[in-house]
């Protein structure tokens, strides 16, 4: 592992003290002056026409200041596909769809008034299954699909429920399949799950009497929120200010735009007043956003040597009622459809389908855990079919330098090494697994790959400036919701300017009026993008310091170096503390040279190219790939079906470890989140009413500390990323991608059963074991 003075080391979180002392303030902690409380009126129907909305009784409740409906704000919103309105206008599409909202002096008044909004619905047939959604006679969730605004690289199909369809065509799949010695086809299912961030969604807005809008929101994307609010309400960027306080977790659920249009609409009705909306935990489950469901069908053709010659992937995504953000999950899953493998002949379809379920959106992994659930089980199943060891089979077919992805992109020696990750995990598993009385034990492995899914111009910019005492302020506009961006930003700045880390202060509560632009905190892109921008800005600061110092010391710039807050002439002509340079240097006679040292810089991905619209072939569709592998060891109780996870081994090629503690935190956290979705999580709907049956933390379980495996091991390969800051690439999401598939493979190894529908509940395991026994 390469180490700098700060980068590559175990630097403590720079915001740790704030968080453990409670000094950090989150949206719900902030009581805004003369704040009104908002309550949303939500649809009780999964699909219905809205005949009439009568707010007269609601308005008569004491303390109610405004009621807003779709009639008042029939504006469309959506990041890639504008398929949603602020409030339902003519129809509602899921249980929880906002129909109106109330702003009142107290939460009680708001609730009471919301209950008095009378909505007349005409129920329509509801659609809950993507397999039915693509049939010609399926009820249409969006009859107006052809009329919505959409970015050019998303392809909704008017007259159907398909909100995006990406086709990947490489080589000649059909011809190659005919040559295959074995063909294996399987279907895999992933249900909708919820992010369950510790802090639920919340937003507040105020429009002042001059028409300027301020929004305070728990969000991952303040600048995108501003941009989309302006588009939605026809406002100028100059009149909208979006601020983000501390954020208590997002996991993708706070990406793009969420509650902000609702509070903005209310704020426009009561100029001068703040209006705040904080969801209840129940609303968070069914009315915020969820991870999309997936039905994946894979066909694999292998030749006699065990090489895959033909691979078909058919992904049907359950986007729920609106596809605003989720359409891009569909796209990412398309151009990554082959996972960590080289398939010479590919027929891939990634299809987003509307249903009357909760709204699908980004979720840590952005579709990758779901497709890897299918791909990585399939690799094991094919290996077993041809009698090969799953690890050897993977090594024979995996991507690496000189190999081509499904879009035809040629990987090189900088692209990362999944083979080395597989080998590391295999090494950790070289000892035979000890038996345990009464338990069936097994090991499974799964690989992972993911690229940042973002527009080609997704940018991060930063501002570095010095204070009088030599403290360096670093303004970054990514969101640090726990992953550690602030700390990493401080490390890069301190490294580049060779400063003590205590002398660097990261200013990071983004405010679009004051902070440098940043597209979004998603796609595991912040360390990479903001890191690059900081290094560039630091170079500019250094140049300013050296220019002044060179005149002070009478030494050429090339001979100067920064050491612990001093500019030093390596040729021996002396040194000058930066405190005497950062505001300009004053000579003994009183004249001043230079001035306040500050610099801005940005990072934009280099040389990204669009996908071919018919085949998705592209030499550089994404900025980078991060590869990895995980292995798990489990013990199965055959009588109850309970799976105990004894050990997880994870290895990722991260290019360069930036912070040893934080990367372990990301890895352990991702693994545990992966165990959650793999073993217990599923948002269940009542298929008669469309209502979530487990929209609370009693019935919807996520892991606690007691579910963390006894042994959790992480290691890292470091093949430097060419355009990464000091070689680093993204890792935040990748850590939860392979876990469920590795569990499923371990389950097969332990007891010879395959469960293709996530999660692996005890009950499913028990049923599969019984079925297996019945078959003999």
């Amino acid at each position: 592992m390469s180490q700098g003075r700060w980068v590559g080391r175990d630097v403590l979180r720079v915001d740790g003290l704030e968080k453990v002392t409670g000094a950090a303030r989150y949206l719900a902690d902030v009581k805004l002056p003369r704040m009104l409380y908002a309550q949303v009126v939500r649809s009780p129907h999964p699909h219905a026409r809205v005949r009439e909305v009568d707010v007269s009784r609601a308005l008569s409740v004491a303390g109610v200041r405004a009621v807003a409906t779709g009639r008042d704000f029939p504006f469309h919103v959506g990041i890639y596909l504008k398929d949603q309105t602020v409030f339902a206008t003519d129809r509602v599409r899921f249980v929880g769809d906002p129909v109106a909202a109330v702003a009142a002096e107290s939460p009680e008044a708001a609730r009471e008034a919301a209950a008095l909004v009378r909505v007349e619905y005409e129920p329509l047939p509801a659609l809950f299954d993507v397999r039915q959604g693509i049939l010609p006679d399926a009820p249409l969730v969006h009859p107006d699909l052809g009329k919505y605004q959409v970015v050019p690289w998303i392809t909704p199909q008017a007259g159907t429920n398909i909100c995006n369809h990406l086709k990947v065509r490489k080589g000649d799949y059909h011809a190659a399949l005919k040559t295959a010695a074995h063909v294996v086809e399987n279907t895999f299912v992933v249900p909708q799950v919820q992010h369950v961030p510790m802090e639920v969604h919340g937003s507040a807005a105020r429009m002042d009497l001059s028409g300027k809008l301020e929004v305070l929101t728990s969000a991952q994307s303040p600048f995108t929120v501003r941009h989309l609010l302006c588009a939605c309400f026809g406002l100028s960027h100059g009149d909208v200010r979006v601020m983000v306080p501390q954020v208590g977790g997002g996991f993708g659920g706070k990406a793009g735009i969420n509650l902000e249009p609702i509070v903005t609409a209310l704020a426009m009705r009561v100029p001068g007043r703040w209006v705040r909306l904080v969801l209840t935990r129940a609303e968070e489950f069914y009315a915020a956003v969820v991870r999309q469901g997936l039905v994946a069908t894979l066909t694999t053709g292998v030749d006699r040597s065990g090489k895959v010659v033909a691979q078909r992937m058919h992904y049907l995504w359950d986007c729920g009622a609106y596809g605003g953000y989720g359409v891009n999950v569909v796209r990412a899953a398309g151009y990554t459809c082959g996972g960590a493998y080289e398939f010479p002949n590919v027929w891939g379809d990634s299809i987003g389908v509307y249903t009357n379920r909760p709204v699908g959106s980004a979720y840590r992994g952005f579709g990758m855990q779901e497709i890897h659930w299918a791909l990585e089980q399939q690799m094991d199943m094919v290996a077993h079919e041809i009698g090969e060891d799953p690890i050897a089979f993977r090594l024979k077919n995996c991507l690496g330098p000189g190999k081509r992805t499904v879009t035809g992109q040629l990987l090189d020696e900088h692209s990362g090494r999944v083979d080395q990750c597989i080998q590391r995990v295999a090494q950790a598993f070289s000892e035979p697994l000890a038996t345990r009385p009464g338990r069936l034990r097994g090991r499974g492995l799964a690989c992972a790959v993911k690229a940042p899914a973002m527009p080609n111009d997704a940018a991060s910019s930063v501002l570095l400036k010095f204070c009088e005492d030599g403290v360096l302020e670093v303004l970054v506009s990514g969101i640090d919701y726990g992953q550690g961006l602030r700390t990493v930003a401080a490390q890069f700045a301190a490294e580049a300017l060779n400063l003590p880390i205590e002398q660097v202060r990261v200013r990071n509560l983004p405010d679009t009026d004051l902070s440098p632009y940043d597209w979004q905190t998603v796609a595991s892109r912040q360390t990479w993008a903001t890191g690059n921008a900081i290094l560039r800005a630091a170079e500019k600061c250094k140049a300013q310091l050296f220019e002044t110092a060179s005149q002070v010391l009478g030494a050429p710039v090339e001979r100067l170096a920064l050491r612990d807050g001093q500019v030093v002439d390596t040729g021996g002509a002396g040194r000058v503390p930066i405190t005497r340079l950062v505001m300009g240097y004053q000579f003994p006679d009183g004249h001043v040279i230079g001035g306040p040292v500050a610099a801005a810089a940005h990072h934009v991905p280099e040389g990204l190219l669009f996908l071919d619209p018919q085949t998705s072939q592209s030499a550089k569709p994404v900025a980078k790939w991060t590869f990895g592998a995980q292995g798990v060891e489990i013990s199965v109780d055959p009588d109850t079906g309970h799976i105990q996870v004894d050990r997880v081994v994870a290895c990722y090629d991260v290019g360069q470890v930036v912070n040893q503690g934080l990367i372990l935190g990301q890895t352990y956290g991702g693994v545990v989140q992966g165990l959650g979705t793999g073993l217990m999580e599923e948002l269940k709907l009542d298929l008669l009413t469309g209502k979530a049956q487990n929209a609370n933390l009693v019935d919807y379980k996520i892991p606690t500390a007691l579910d963390v495996p006894a042994a959790l091991e992480a290691s890292f390969v470091e093949t430097p990323q060419k355009d990464g800051p000091m070689g680093a690439r993204g890792i935040g999401e990748h850590t939860m991608i392979p876990t469920p598939a590795a569990l499923a493979n371990a389950l097969y190894a332990a007891c010879g059963i395959r469960i293709q529908e996530m999660p692996l509940t005890a009950e499913k395991v028990r049923a599969a074991l019984r079925e297996k026994r019945a078959k003999g």
């Binding site: 409740v61 009680e108 109850t640 309970h642 049956q693 379980k701 606690t704 007691l706 579910d707």
Partner: protein, 281 residues
């Protein structure tokens, strides 16, 4: 305006009863760990909460001269689980109390609240059913004692009359001694109610000596008496027959935590295991 919740802290039993009678839709509150989450979600939120945690006489665990153990209604589950007498003489209760929720939750929740809530999954109910406990209560009509076997009526329903306050549970001295084994399945390792649970307890001084209680498989926590008889008659060799009998006694339903079929099957698995564990001990 919607009416606000009226919270009152009672300092004596009399005061609690009076505060309760004052307003319709009053509720007694101990730890509040069932009451508060439910009040938030439901349509019929209580108008007044009468907090009983500050009543000194309800805050004690006492060994009576008779050897019976009395656990006051304000005593936390954690205090019961850790109490030396409970651990030594009534281990079934300590076992079940330790399985409830999580450590912080047990510090707040009470055993009496657990049974008054009358959930089919109430962990301590399994032990109290096996130990033949009695619920002491007092209401507008005066005090009375309700055998635990008559206490649970249905999901969320007890035989307490409106306004009646449970003061304590009493466990008879004759239930002391013996051993217990709890088999409990849940979706995750902690802070999760039982998908299904079976408590087997062997009480040397009582008849039947074997006691089997089932959780989450019927409208109320319940005993499986046929299984008990079989075990009394034939000992560990009756494990399979007892398991069959317990499965037959179960009346499970399908819900988000598990299906009826799985629950019923697990009753058999858990009881067989418990018999084996106690037989081997």
């Amino acid at each position: 305006m919607q009416e606000r919740l009226d919270y009152r802290k009672a300092h004596s039993v009399e005061e609690a009863l009076t505060l309760f009678q004052d307003l319709p839709r009053s509720r007694y509150m101990a730890g509040g760990t069932d009451l508060l989450p439910r009040a938030r979600g439901s349509g019929q939120a209580p108008s007044r909460l009468v907090d009983i945690k500050g009543i000194p006489e309800l805050s004690r665990i006492e060994e009576l001269p008779s050897g019976d153990l009395r656990i006051g209604a304000a005593v936390s589950v954690a205090a019961v689980a850790a109490h030396p007498t409970v651990r030594q003489r009534f281990s079934a209760l300590s076992l079940c109390a330790s399985a409830l929720g999580s450590y912080p939750l047990r510090n707040r929740a009470t055993v009496v609240g657990n049974i008054c809530n009358a959930s089919p999954c109430a962990d301590t109910a399994a032990a109290l059913l096996c130990l033949d406990a009695t619920v002491l209560c007092v209401g507008p009509a005066g005090p009375r004692r309700i055998p635990i076997h008559e206490f649970f009526v249905g999901p969320g329903q007890t035989s307490l009359a409106s306004g009646e306050l449970a003061l304590a549970v009493e466990i008879p001295a004759a239930s002391a001694g013996g051993r217990a084994e709890l088999g409990r399945l849940s979706r995750r390792q902690g802070v999760d109610i039982a998908t299904v649970a079976v408590l087997l307890s062997v009480l040397p001084q009582r008849s039947p000596r074997h006691r089997v209680a089932l959780l989450s498989v019927a409208p109320t926590p319940r005993r499986a008496s046929e299984a008990e008889t079989l075990l009394d008659q034939r000992g560990p060799s009756a494990a399979n027959a007892a398991a069959e009998a317990a499965m037959a006694a179960a009346r499970p339903i399908d819900d988000v935590r598990g299906t009826a079929a799985y629950r019923r099957e697990m009753v058999g698995v858990l009881l067989t295991r418990a018999v084996r564990a106690l037989g081997a001990a």
